[in-house]
Structure formats: C-alpha cells, structure tokens
Amino acid sequence: MKWRIWGSIAMIFLLTVGVLAGCGPQRDADPDKKEAGKEEKPEQLVIWENKEARHLKHTERMAEKYEEKTGIQVKVVGVDILKQQEKLTLDGPNNKGADVVTWPHDRIGEAAIKGLIQPIDVEEDRIHAYNKSALRAMQYDGKLYGLPRNTESIALIYNKDRMKEPPKTFEELIRFAEENTDPAKEKYGFLYEGENFYHDFFVFHAFGGYVFKDEGGRMNTEDIGLNNEGSIQAMETIGSWYKDQLIPRGLKADTVNGLFKEGKVAAVLNGPWAVKDYEDAGIDVGVSPIPPINGKDPKTFIGVKGLYVSAYTRNEYWATDLVRFLTGKEALQDRFKTTGEIPSRTDLLEHPIVKDDEQVNGFAEQAASGVPMPNVPEMSQVWDPMADAVSFVAKGEQTPKEALDGAVKQIKEKLQTQKQ
C-alpha cells in the first residue's frame, strides 16, 4: 500500500521533470542581437577602469573630454584590472557589463576563447601610430582584439654609487659582477630573479630560443623552441652565472629587492614598479636598457595593458571609437603625466616628456623593442616548468639539455591535459 503511493509519487515526479525538461524557455526565432543601425549614438557608454585612484582620475578626465567631443556620456566604474574578466562573465549576460574593459594582454587569449571580447576594426593608418610590439600583443589568432595603452618591461636598474656607468655589453656586466661579488660579505655585482622565466626570456631570445612559433600573428603551440640549439646555449650561459656563484640559487624577488635597498647590490633587473621603493630606501637609482648580450639587443618579455570592446556591448561602433580616443595621443600623454606609465604610441615614445627623463627612457627603450608575452592560454603551462629547469641547472642536478628537454616534455604533457 505504502510503497505503491510512493511509487506513484516518484512516477509523477519523473514525468514532471521529463515534461519540464522538454519545455525549456520559449524563444523567438531571432533574439535581440545587435541591430543594424550601429552607428546610432547611444546616450551612455560604460568603461571599467582599474580600481586605483590615479587610473580613475585620468580616465574620468578623459571621459569628460569625450563627452564634450561626441555628446556621449561615459560612465567610469572602478573594477580591479585582474577581476574584470570574471566580472564580465557574470555581468555581461545580464546587461550589467561594460562596453569597454581592460586587462593585461596575456589574458586576451582566454577572453577571446570564452567570447568575452570581440575583434575590432581600426583604420590601417591609425594602427601605425602604435608601437609594433605593443600592437602585436593585442593580436590573438591573427585578429586585433584591442588597442594598447601602456607597455611594461624590465630593464637594468643600477645603484649609481656602486656603478658609475651602465656597461656597454652584457658580457661586460658579468665581468663587473665577477669583480664585485663576494657572497661572504653579502656584496653582489649583479642580481636578478633567475629562477623565473619572465626574467630569463631575453637570454633565450638572444641565442635563438623562442616559446611558441609566431606564424603571422598566430602562435603555433605545437612548435616549442625552448630546447633548441639556441635555448641550450642560453641555459648554459645562465647556468654559468650560478656556477661562478655570481647569483645565489633559490634567489627570490623579495631578497633581490631587499639587498638592493640595503645598497649591497650594484645592479638588478626589475620593472618600473620597483623604482619608487628603491628610491624611498635612499638609493640613487639609474635605469638603462639591458646591454646587448651575445651581440644582440636583448628583447625582454613585455606586458601591455590594452582596452577591449566587450562582446556584450550594444554599441560596438561607439565603444570602438572610445577605445580609439582613450589610446590617442592626447589621452596617453595625460595618462603618462597622471600615472607615470609608459605609453605604447611611437609619437609619445619619441616625445621629450619621455626622452628627457633618464629613468623613464631606460624602461621605454627596453619596452619598445620587447617581445610580448604570448597571449595564448597555453602560455600558463610554460612558466613553472621553465623556472624549474633553471633551478635544476643552477643546482647542478641536470645539464642544460636535460633540464630543457624535461621542461618541454612537461609543457607538452600539460598542454595535452589542458586540451583533453
């Protein structure tokens, strides 16, 4: 008796679920996708800017200018630059997202795959205003996904009391380090966070190594150049610095900074973000591009912050126009003055405001010739195995070839799992 009741309840339940699952939402044949009249001016555009006072100040000022120019009101909302992607995933479908968003370029690939941003149309002649490397950073899978604002790179930062002139070549820098390093007295000529591939890349590049083959704006992630002839040579070079005890193994960024601030290091590799801290510690800081290594200008990994058009926007045309305006000469000059970030436009890189500042120019020159960190999501599998490879070589556990073969094997395995 009882089980029969419960049996019939279960049946009813299952039937209801079945029927409802068959129903689902009622949909019109054509949902309200973007309409044809796209050049029609909207009343308002929303932009998400990094939630930091200096950044917001600049963008709010530019928003007013843009309204004067076009009559479109721009609402600036502060959202942490590293959280915008996640926020857009949640807010976009509910029409609460922004029209224009920003994040570091190495996350473009992920955003494009998820469909959060869309490729943009920009006239050929405008594109040439931007620095080539920075523009390359904005491309994913052969398409342009945004326009660059600022470029960041590491450069040689030296203590002017300990090093009068930056060396002419990297080999000279190493010789300087050999003469000025005495670990027993905590004195170092040159230090950098070697067990971090971001800092090592320029060495690999100078000897002919590469991460993924760049095939005309498209990364071929099948072709990994981190254990080729050149990479092995690069690894041998890096390994020799550890072997000669110029750089202690297991060195962390915090330690490098600490020692530099205490005046115990003559020169380090680091980015613009470190300079203020160094100066506050009373160090007379000089900045120069990294001197040529292996006879070539070192190309460091650069990070580019760009502006992108959300895939959820209803005003594609005007959102793109706002991106163009905010990456224009006037806007980026204002941004440089407000935030001190190095602009990605060639006309500003040649401008006296950048050229005449020794520190800024050091970073700017390095950044202008850099290689963008690959923006494909596959890149996240590269960092750890490569950092580990340097550790193994530094410790003398493996030869450079063994270490790099091992790293590449692991990268491939990780990529395979990622795509499984």
Partner: protein, 438 residues
C-alpha cells in the same frame, strides 16, 4: 469491510469505511488538500491547496527553466550560460525536494485522519489542529530558517561541485562562447590516464601520507607532553607558561608561515646565518626536498601543538585525583601512572578531535603552499618535492583550467578522507564499549 457505526454517533458525517484512509491519501496525492476536504477538514484542505497553487505559480518558470537547464545545460552559446543554468537547476531540484516534502506530509496527513475517521472517531477540528501544530511544530518552525540556510550554504555548493565533476567545464568549454556538456564518468577515467598525473601520483601520495601521520602524531604528542608537564603540582607560574605556549596558536598561521619562509631562506635567512655563526654550513632548507620537508614538519609541529596542549590540559584537569592516589598507594611509578591512567583517559576523550586533526593535515594546503609553494621542483615530475595531494591538484587544475578535474579529484579525496575518518570513528566507538568511564 468495517461495520457502519451506530446512528447515535455524534459524528454528523456518517461516511467511515475501511477504504477511507486510502481514498483520502489518493485524493491528496492527486491535488494537495483534496483528501483533507474529503475528510471534511475544509480549512486545512484549503491551506494545502493554496500552498500548492502558490508554489506552482511562483516557481513554475524557475523550475521549468532550471530543470530544462540542468538536463541540457543550454542549447545556444551566448544566450545560455551553462554554469548559471546548472546552478539554477540544482536550486530547482532543492525546491522540488522541499515541495515533495510538504506534498508527502499532506498525503500522510490525509491517510492518518482517514484512519481516525474509519475508526469512527471525529477528526480534529481546525482549532485543535492549530493547537497541535503550534505545540508540536514549534521547534521545527524555529529550526526552519537555519535549515534552509544550511541547505543553501552547505548542501548546494557540494551538489554543485559534484555536478561539475561530471561535465566538461574547462577553458575550452567556458561560457558564454561555449556550452558545457555532461560527460559522465569520463573525467575520472581521463584524469588517471593522463601522463601528467600518473608520473607524480605515487610520490605525492606517499609524501601526503607521511606528512599527515608524522605532523599530526608529533604535534599531538608534543601538546600532551607539555600539558602533562604544566599540570605537575611542582610547576610554578602555570598561567604564564600556559599563555606563552598558547601564543603560536593566537598568531594567524598565515602570518607565521610567511615569516618562517623568510627565516628558513637558504642564503639570507636568520636560521642559516646563526648556523654559520656556530661554524656550521648552512642547510638548503628551501632547495632540497628532504630539508624542505623537515622544515615543514617543524613548522607544523610549532603551529599545531598549542591546540593539542589546550585540549589535553582540559582533559587532564578533569581526571579525578583519586585514581592517582590509589595508584600511589599501590606503588606505581610516574611512568606507570602516565601509561595506565593519563594516556588512556586522554586518548579516550580526544580521539574524535585527533581524527579530525589527521583529516585536517591531510588537506593542509596553507602551510605547504605559503611556505614554499610545494617546491623545490623535482626533475621529471609535475609536482614539487613537498606538494601534498591537495596543493598539487590545486596547482594543476588552475594552471590547466580544468575545473571538471578539480571537482573530480575533490570528490575522490573527500571519499578517501571520509572513509578513513569513518573507519576510525567506528573504532573509537568500540573503544567506548570497554566501559572506561562511567
């Protein structure tokens, strides 16, 4: 067939027969409240009916969308957000379970009242019912908000996680551009077939076991030892010592682990510098797996012993001094007193907590990750030398963007920990039957 009651019965509705409860229950199963109305409980029937209608009217769209969503996980990219649909679907299922609960209650009630009527008695009036509900239902009424909160903050996330383990949710199947699909058990199978996981699993698993056993056992032993020490009559300044020894527990472990990571630094850390002053060569704390493991264990002893000590102190203070006096009369040594009185009583009282401590250290990602991120690296494997299962899985899944694998591994690990804990708990219950304490 039951016989009809006499006409003189005060019941004005002379229906009763053996089939009453069944009919009432069936009617209630058809439409909520119908059975109650058949039982002549108009008000109760009406309220059940209103509840049903309200439930359907309010939730119909939501349930419709949710159930459709959880089955299909969306059909059109950009328009359907698979993960949202999954969440909505799970909420819909929870609502349905709630609804079915009320529904079942309604049927049971109709059947019960029907039985009363079949016996020829009068069903309770609306006033009586209300009194019964307020008297007996009051505790349930009070617990209800808590229960609902519990369902949505505990049960819902667990269901969501379990569901994810059976989907293909990863970077290449991420909304809005792509849809997520159900894939059954293939995550569990693929995961263990992947080269990346197989080559490190054994070494990581064995270190996890060693880590769990050693860290928990030693931290407990240390805590017990100190508690016994402080509890000695001869010790003075008890409060002072107790406070000092509790301090490691009072400082947020997050902070102390980071400080330790600086102290143990191979070249610039104070520990190695002190060793250097003593004329000893520095120990590669951060770069050699063996030494990093030792450093981690030392840190965990330091972090963990105050809790065990506090626990044991409490138990020690509750042990009757008669036992010890009797032992002294019998001429027991200090060790015998500890071995035969203190230890069994403390272990008896703390066993459940001790088991949770083992489970906690099995999943203690904080200390591993904050100290050295599971490093140093070991050639030929994807896990670092000090990675335990949880930290390794955390790294892999988030680097590789495999949320489905993360969920699958979490399920496996929870099953493991739950299994071991359950086994242990059952053993302690056997312990209890020895009747150590009245």
């Amino acid at each position: 067939m039951a016989s009809r009651p006499t006409v003189t019965d005060r019941n004005p509705h002379p229906v009763p027969s053996g089939s009453v409860p069944r009919t009432a229950a069936l009617l209630s199963a058809l439409v909520m409240g119908l059975g109650q109305m058949y039982n002549r409980q108009w008000w109760k029937g009406l309220s059940f009916l209103i509840i049903e209608i309200a439930f359907l009217v309010v939730f119909f769209d939501f349930l419709n969308m949710g159930l459709w969503g959880i089955v299909t996980l969306g059909t059109e990219p950009f328009l359907d957000h698979s993960i949202m649909l999954l969440a909505q679907g799970i909420i819909a299922l929870i609502l349905i379970v709630f609804g079915l609960g009320v529904y079942g209650l309604n049927i049971r009630d109709a059947y019960r009242i029907g039985k009363i009527r079949a016996r020829g008695e009068k069903p309770p009036t609306i006033g009586e019912t209300r009194r019964m509900v307020t008297d007996r239902g009051y505790p349930y009424f009070l617990v209800m908000p808590g229960l609902i909160l519990l369902v949505f903050t505990v049960i819902f996330p667990i269901l969501f996680m379990v569901a994810l383990a059976f989907t293909n949710y990863d970077l290449y199947h991420s909304p809005p551009a792509r849809l997520v699909d159900w894939v059954g058990f293939s995550n569990f199978i693929n995961m263990f077939q992947s080269e990346l996981w197989r080559n490190s699993f054994v070494s990581v698993f064995s270190w996890t076991i060693v880590w769990t056993l050693v860290s928990t056992t030693v931290q407990f032993a240390l805590g017990l030892f100190l508690a016994v020490l402080i509890n000695q009559k001869r010790v003075r300044f008890k409060k002072f010592f107790r406070t000092v020894l509790i301090l490691p527990w009072a400082v947020p472990s997050f902070v102390s682990i980071l400080v330790f990571s600086g102290l143990f630094d191979g070249h610039f850390g104070p520990i190695n510098q002190m060793l250097g002053m003593l004329g000893l060569s520095g120990i590669p704390w951060m770069t050699e797996p063996l030494w990093t493991r030792i450093a981690l264990l030392l840190i965990q002893f330091w972090l963990g012993f105050p809790f065990s000590m506090a626990l044991c102190t409490g138990v020690l203070q509750s042990i009757s001094s008669d036992l010890y006096q009797a032992a002294e009369v019998d001429g027991a040594t200090a060790w015998q007193k500890f071995r035969n009185i203190t230890l069994p009583l403390v272990l008896y009282a703390t066993a459940p907590v001790l088991i949770t401590q083992y489970a906690f250290n099995f999943n203690n990602i904080n200390v591993i990750y904050l100290f050295n991120q599971g490093k140093p690296a070991v050639p030929g494997q994807s896990a670092g030398g000090t990675d335990i299962l949880i930290s390794w899985v955390y790294k892999l899944t988030f680097e590789v963007h495999k949320f489905n694998y993360a969920a699958a591994v979490t399920i496996i690990m929870s099953l493991f920990v739950m299994g071991v804990s359950l086994y242990q708990f059952r053993k302690t219950r056997a312990f209890k039957e020895e009747d150590l304490i009245q």
